[in-house]
């Protein structure tokens, strides 16, 4: 289990939009990407500094994107770097979800 009280320090992250110290999301997937990152950090898969520099590299990498798109790309790269899974794995699973959605009638839960 995770160590208790391992708090992510949001203030050190580049460009994050906070409201009263809380992150601001514009869509559910953004909150999900955020939460996955915090969870992997809590599990000790990377340090918060590693995360902050990965995100910073993405943001300053020259591609214009919305903030949480940068976030997700940075997370995917860090995960690949840590050999948790490859970008190809993610790519093919993404397609699997699209395929699953296309065979699921609207309103029913989408399952792989």
């Amino acid at each position: 289990m995770s160590k208790p009280e391992l708090k992510p320090d949001l203030q050190v992250l580049p460009d994050i939009v906070l409201d009263d110290g809380e992150p601001v999301f514009n869509a559910p997937w953004e909150a999900q990407a955020f939460a996955m990152t915090v969870r992997l950090f809590e599990k000790g898969l990377f340090t918060w500094n590693e995360w902050a520099s990965s995100l910073s590299a993405e943001i300053h990498g020259g591609t214009e994107r919305e903030y949480y798109r940068h976030w997700l790309c940075a997370l995917e790269k860090l995960i690949a770097e840590k050999q948790i899974m490859s970008l190809n794995d993610i790519e093919s699973r993404e397609q699997a979800w699209h395929d699953a959605a296309a065979r699921t009638p609207h309103g029913e839960p989408i399952e792989l």
Partner: protein, 224 residues
Amino acid sequence: MIHDGDSGDGDGDGDNHNHDHDHDHDHDDGMSHLGKMEARVRALESLLVEKGYVESESIDQLIQIYETKIGPKNGAHVVAKSWVEPDFADWLRRDATAAIHSLGYTSRQGEHMQAVFNSDDTHHLVVCTLCSCYPWSVLGLPPTWYKSPPFRSKAVIDPRGVLSDFGLNLPETTSVEVHDSTAETRYLVIPQRPGGTDGWSIDQLAALVTRNAMIGTAIADDPQ
């Protein structure tokens, strides 16, 4: 046709995952659709769960902790204004999309909104298992339970049961109408104005309108 007011995906704003998204917008076959970013995040999460790095429950818990700042302020403003200004309420009834738009609340995809008004006779409840069918621009992020399949199936079969799970026990004389939010039409429940609020300003009233009241699992708060 507007398909999926999705996760802000597929509008080509410099995304580098190199996916064609045109196919996203031209099937209207009653099947589900995931936005690009939504599918991408699902891909990552499902792989991490399978490999044992994270548990879905812990992700949901974290989201609940952090999502509190995404209050349903926009929707609450819409509701409160409709309580105070009959003309606005009228407009909302006729063309909710335009009425809401007039307050500056728009989403990227500009989905069609419909306002449903609670009364003594009818209580409205909105369901959908796809978070992409949820009007974030008005309500903020959906609560985690809203996306759960059990909530939806129970809401359809036994809406009164769901409401009483949420602590809302309606009189027998009030019928419950369930609306299935779709990619094309998203619903906003306009709760009834609570008593004891005569002369209140829109801002004061808006504070009584919770997200759950605008989904229909609650009524507006009582004035303290």
